[in-house]
Amino acid sequence: MTRAEAFSEREVAMCTVARLVENGRTYWAAGGGTPLYSVLLGQKLYAPDAQYVTEDGVVAPEPMLPFEPMMTMVASRAVHHALLWGTMNSAGLHAQLGHMDYGVLNTLQVDQHGNINSTFLGEYGGSGRRFGGPGGADTIAACCWRTILITDQERRKFVKAVDFISSPGFLDGTPGARERAGLPRDTGPWRVVTPWAMYDYEDRRLRLMARVPWVTVDEILAECEWKPLIAPEVQVLEPPTEEELHLLRTELDVRGQTTDAAGSWITWDGEKYVRA
């Protein structure tokens, strides 16, 4: 693996998630974009026996890459040579039965207990801004065993309590809160990944566990409206490799729609990584 010279922040997040992908596990990737690219990146480089499904009920496809614009589900290249063509309900039921190990999704806003808001910023029904709704994320966050959340490292995205719980985290954070709400036992948030950091949970509360080399813990905390817990030892994440970026740029996000959507660029100045 060759350490990369220049990459975007979104690329960092996808490469970080890709390295979490394991053989012999199933992944439900929400929508298209970042979650699906991260899983495909992990499968192709690190875990060839990782299998994934999407909301349209496709099981373990061998997609014809790259996808056409916005055509990451249902379209023939996306569902190509799957093991089974199902429906949204078959995807939901297989997850409900416990067959999906990991759910991978992204969001607008996450809170200290991993609750996800993709519906409304501000007071619901009030003067705030309406967004698209949970889509498949609610089922993924409820029924997959572990949830991996991808988002940007921005103050307004890390809050004490989301304005609207579109998809469940640990809800109010009390033991058994999910079970009391009817959700399956022993499920819930597992990781949050941003271009700067990776978080896990301690007693159902968000905890900073790792950072990229070019940002400090303080810089990360400055981009959290609500401060997460901090692990005794905050690990340092490996930067993207050229192999990862090549695959990402030539086969996955070829138009850069996802990776260029936000965030600045990082470059290697010969001694260290610096933000452009």
Binding site: E55, P69, M71, V74, A75, V79, T87, R129, P134, T139
Partner: protein, 332 residues
């Protein structure tokens, strides 16, 4: 056999407070008995006739897939052309169609699974012309599944604990079997479903290839069902491969022959999308200018095929078909 007085009961722990389409399995059955054609009588007609006969102002409408992916776009255009009003839309797994129908003045209520939140929708909300009720994609298809089973509700293991739950028709009850809390969601039996299939015969026996969202559920759950199809095939072909039939004729009220009926979206295995026009509709929506899209692509034409002939042309359609190279499995 009169039921004795309740010996026991299970608590309703929490309830959503939003309006939802009335749950009435017996009313649905009576509608089926009185209106569905259970004999093999041809039901092939034009999109205009199908929409005139089977889509009414105020109907609850579900469409399968979406405007970009195997959408029943000829039927959606016809609904806009006929200026249907006050539709309540099952807004699941959808991007632009909700904005299109809201922007064109056809829709006033949305059950939200996911849709592209965009200026036309936000403006309608701000102006009080639109109500949104909160679900998720799978909760919406679960509601359709309950409707397709002829039962009043289904238990589900998701949705609990969300704020969507509070703004929905869901309930959290104590499961009488395990004693654990479980969410139930109300059956959805839309007034009308519009579905684009790859193939159908003149009676409505339809085949969908590839993945889908809830084609069968919508077809069985809806009072009125319009199936548009790329190809009309002989019933003998259907009979030669009964395992390939997705929707049985007795659920279907109208069959519309609709080649390239998903344009500008893709009909998987048959043709790819027209990316330029897809970007055009996104642009129209982002700039809150649905009218210009409708005035260009819908209103000037008596039929969808007129639009295809005059604005798209055979060369483009041919290119869309030849670009669609991932064809394995897209046949009976």
């Amino acid at each position: 056999m009169t039921a004795p007085a309740a010996r026991q009961s299970v608590p309703i722990l929490r309830e959503g407070t939003a309006d939802y389409l009335k749950v009435d399995p017996d009313g649905f059955r009576a509608y089926v008995r009185d209106n569905k054609q259970r004999g093999l009588t041809p039901r092939l007609m034009t999109a205009r006739e199908a929409v005139e006969r089977f889509v009414s102002d105020g109907d609850y409408l579900t469409y399968e897939c979406n405007y970009l992916m195997r959408g029943p776009n000829e039927l959606i255009h016809e609904i806009i052309r006929q200026e249907k009003k006050q539709l309540w839309i099952a807004g699941k797994f959808t991007y632009v169609a909700v904005a299109l129908l809201v922007g064109a003045g056809c829709a006033s209520r949305i059950d939200c699974g996911f849709f592209l939140s965009s200026p036309p929708v936000l403006r309608a909300l701000a102006e009080g012309r639109l109500e949104v009720f909160e679900y998720s994609n799978v909760i919406m298809t679960t509601r359709l599944q309950a409707g397709a089973m002829g039962i009043p509700f289904l238990p589900v293991r998701s949705f609990g604990g969300t704020n969507g739950f509070d703004h929905s028709g869901a309930k959290l009850i104590t499961d009488p079997y395990t004693g654990d809390p479980v969410v139930i969601v109300p059956a959805l039996n839309p007034d009308v479903a519009i579905i684009h299939a790859h193939q159908a015969d003149k009676y409505g026996n339809a085949r969908v290839f590839g993945t889908g969202i809830s084609d069968v559920e919508s077809a069985l759950a809806s009072r009125k069902v319009i199936v548009s199809a790329e190809q009309i095939i002989d019933t003998d072909e259907i009979r030669a491969r009964p395992g390939s039939t997705t929707i049985p004729y007795y659920a279907v009220d109208a069959v519309v022959h609709s080649p390239y009926g998903s344009y500008p979206g893709t009909c998987p295995g048959y043709y790819g999308s027209d990316p330029e026009v897809v970007f055009e509709i996104f642009k129209a929506i982002r700039t809150d200018d649905v009218q210009s899209y409708v005035d260009k692509w819908v209103r000037p034409f008596a039929t969808f095929s007129d639009m295809l002939n005059e604005l798209v042309g055979p060369a483009k359609l041919e290119e869309m078909s030849t670009r669609e190279i991932a064809k394995d499995g897209y046949s009976a």
